[in-house]
């Protein structure tokens, strides 16, 4: 398993076949039980080191934002729409890969010579963009591409600079990688590893998986917004690259369980792992779907700070990722104490 392999797989929300096949292979080697549910979530159970153990669901979403083919013009140019939250400004002039047959294309637009000064002031809307796969006409294009085909940006895994990694889809293949690495060990709690689908279009997969698993607690692993770049005020940076794994506080889907969050922070301190808070409350995650499943589940979030998230060139720091893997392992190792503490009603 490697982040390079994980990010090489396509997995636009709703079209997760390729990345799912990879994850199933990895899970079969690491887990005691592996199954795929009706929505396409991969659920891998790692038995506990003791009987009658509590169940901890750890979720990372396998899907990524991308595009979908909506039609083919007579000219052979392809119309598309975004899947998940993609800024239209990042689309133009990008190389893309269309469909399961991996047809290469580029996203084009009218050349600068043909645009008015007024047009150049506003970003190109998706309706003015198209994918060129080099087809001579509609008939030729339809032999390679069909409406409904998913599209990913052609942006490979590259290690660069001071321990940084660039690829598309590090949100949330970084989380998937952390989860696979945790599955290499066994813990006093049962690890119910879930690679969820359709997170980017409404945290849908996690909902069904949490209902089925009925866990005692849950952790959500994410690639999360990192705006530590020029022109952003300090209070709006949210997270910072290289400052360690991110611990969530609240997002638009959930107020993370304060006790479980405190336990994650205590565990980080205990093992000398520097962590950072997520200094922002926007954006949804699988936390909400899991937290409010059945009678309620305590949920916390751990994430890898991801620059330029939801673009073709997402960037993380390897040391943040590795520290995240270490923290997850420690949390699972010690989690029993949290689960035992939280029990007991108020009649005592």
């Amino acid at each position: 398993m490697s982040l390079r392999e994980l990010t090489a797989c396509a997995g636009v929300s709703g079209f997760e076949n390729e990345v799912r096949a990879y994850l199933i292979r990895q899970c079969k080697a690491l887990a005691d039980e592996v199954r795929v549910d009706a929505l396409g979530n991969v659920i891998a159970i790692c038995h506990a080191t003791k009987p009658h153990a509590k169940r901890v669901m750890v979720a990372a979403h396998m899907d990524e934002v991308g595009l979908i083919v909506t039609g083919v013009e007579d000219s052979g140019l392809i119309r598309f729409a975004p899947v998940g939250g993609i800024d239209p400004r990042v689309m133009v002039s990008k190389r893309v890969i269309v469909g399961e047959r991996h047809v290469r294309g580029v996203i084009g637009a009218k050349a600068i010579h043909l645009t008015s000064a007024e047009e150049r002031k506003t970003p190109l809307p998706v309706k003015n963009l198209y994918i060129d796969i080099g087809a001579a006409d509609k008939e030729a294009a339809l032999k390679l591409v069909e409406p409904g085909d998913p599209v990913i940006f052609d942006s490979r895994y590259v290690e660069f600079g001071d321990g940084l990694i660039k690829s598309r889809a590090l949100d949330d293949r970084a989380g998937c990688g952390m989860l696979l690495s945790a599955m290499e060990r066994r813990y006093p709690v049962e690890l119910a590893a879930v690679f969820t689908v359709q997170e980017e279009i409404g945290t849908r997969g996690a909902k069904a998986a949490a209902y089925r698993l009925d866990p005692d607690a849950a952790l959500v692993l994410e690639g999360t917004t990192c705006a530590d770049i020029a022109g952003v005020k300090d209070e709006q940076k949210v997270t910072r690259l290289g400052k360690g794994p991110v611990v969530g506080v609240r997002d638009s889907s959930a107020v993370h369980d304060p006790r479980l969050r405190a336990f994650v922070l205590e565990t980080a301190a205990k093992y000398g792992i520097a962590v950072q808070n997520r200094e922002g409350t926007f954006g949804g995650t699988d936390c909400g779907s899991i937290q409010r499943s059945r009678g309620g589940v305590p949920v916390a979030m751990m994430a890898v700070a991801t620059r330029f998230i939801h673009s073709p060139v997402t960037v993380i720091a390897r040391k943040d990722y590795e520290a995240g893997c270490a923290l997850l392992t420690h949390v699972l190792q010690d989690m029993e104490s949290f689960l035992n503490d939280k029990e007991g009603d108020c009649n005592e």
Partner: protein, 341 residues
């Protein structure tokens, strides 16, 4: 252990609850206050993973009724702390930037502060929370971090204004409904149904606590208690018929729910039988725990008793004592009876 209970009247209950700390996601303190109040009157108390406080009074085997009153109140959450010790914040629930400006705030650990505005902020109608900060009297980030952490939530400083017949507080939504539920639980003698009094969490951000509580309890009927709008103040919306002082409001709908007609009838008939003043409520906006209960499992009959109020989600949410007492009387009367489908 038998506790000595000092009897508290219904207005004292309301005042005490309005003074408790409990923004969305940090309801522990108000939950403890409520637990103390209801413990002598119920058979069992527990909390669930969402932090809902569930107080159970066993009945005579005629099914289960769940009554939900949300404990949480709107507030502000710290998202970052700058090098000079000023806190930047995000809203918790529907809190308007103009209603928090230059107010005093309180954190769970007792830290207090003032809400300030960037010196170059735009005019008031254009102000967003990005232009707002909290000044807790510190000069550096390190000093501020000794008092407050990222993720801490504050409330507008608690207060309770007794104007005689009417009362005002920043926490009237929804401590007035919590007080109604507390007082009704105190008046339960031998209920027909098992009564699950649920003080729910996270209502203000999407009816979240009530959802899991209803799933776990699976009641035969659900009643939410909440605050609603009213229209007897200057230039109030003509589409709102509720008037302060005209009695408890029996909800027909709000933006989140159409109450189950049989439950509405049950409430209206009970009010008539007992001579309790009531009015119908049609609210064109807003959501309540009623929806979360109604849409649980294969669906649960649900309705809502509301207390008409003005200036909701401001620092001076105001209700009328007569409506408050009528809501208590109506809920207590309903809980004595069996719900007939």
């Amino acid at each position: 252990m038998i506790r000595k209970v000092t009897a508290m009247n219904s207005r004292e209950t309301l005042m005490k609850l309005c003074m408790a700390f409990g923004p969305t996601g940090a309801e522990d303190k108000v939950s403890q206050v409520i637990e103390e109040m209801v413990r002598p009157y119920v058979d069992e108390i527990r909390r669930d993973a969402m932090g809902n406080l569930i107080a159970v009074k066993r009945g005579q085997g005629k099914g289960k009724v769940m009554v939900a009153a949300h404990m949480d109140q709107i507030g502000l959450m710290v998202t970052s702390i700058d090098e000079n010790g000023f806190l930047r914040v995000a809203n918790v629930g529907g809190i308007a930037p103009r209603s928090v400006l230059y107010r005093q705030v309180t954190f769970e650990n007792g830290t207090v502060g003032c809400v300030g505005l960037n010196a170059k902020a735009p005019s008031l109608d254009k102000v967003t929370l990005e232009h707002v900060f909290i000044d807790i009297g510190c000069e550096s980030r390190a000093e501020a971090l000794e008092k407050v952490q990222i993720g801490d939530t504050c409330i507008m400083q608690a207060n309770f204004l007794d104007m005689g017949q009417r009362m005002s507080s920043p926490a009237m939504d929804n401590r007035s409904a919590c007080a109604v539920l507390v007082e009704a639980l105190k008046r339960l003698d031998t209920p027909a149904m098992d009564v699950y009094g649920v003080f729910t969490t996270q209502e203000e951000v999407g009816l979240r606590g009530a959802k899991t509580a209803a799933f776990a309890i699976q009641p035969d009927v659900g009643i939410a208690v909440d605050i609603t709008g009213e229209s007897s103040y200057p230039e109030a919306e003509a589409t709102c018929s509720m008037k302060m002082g005209q009695g408890a409001a029996v909800k027909v709908r709000d933006a989140s729910v159409f109450c189950t007609p049989a439950v509405v009838r049950w409430m209206e008939e009970t009010a008539k039988e007992e001579g309790i003043p009531y009015q119908r409520e049609v609210l064109t906006f807003g959501g309540t725990d009623t929806q979360a209960i109604q849409l649980t499992g294969a669906g649960i009959p649900a309705g809502c008793i509301s207390i008409p109020g003005r200036y909701i989600h401001s620092m001076c949410e105001t209700i009328d004592g007569r409506d408050y007492e009528a809501a208590i009387a109506l809920l207590a009367a309903l809980l004595k009876k069996e719900y007939q489908h």
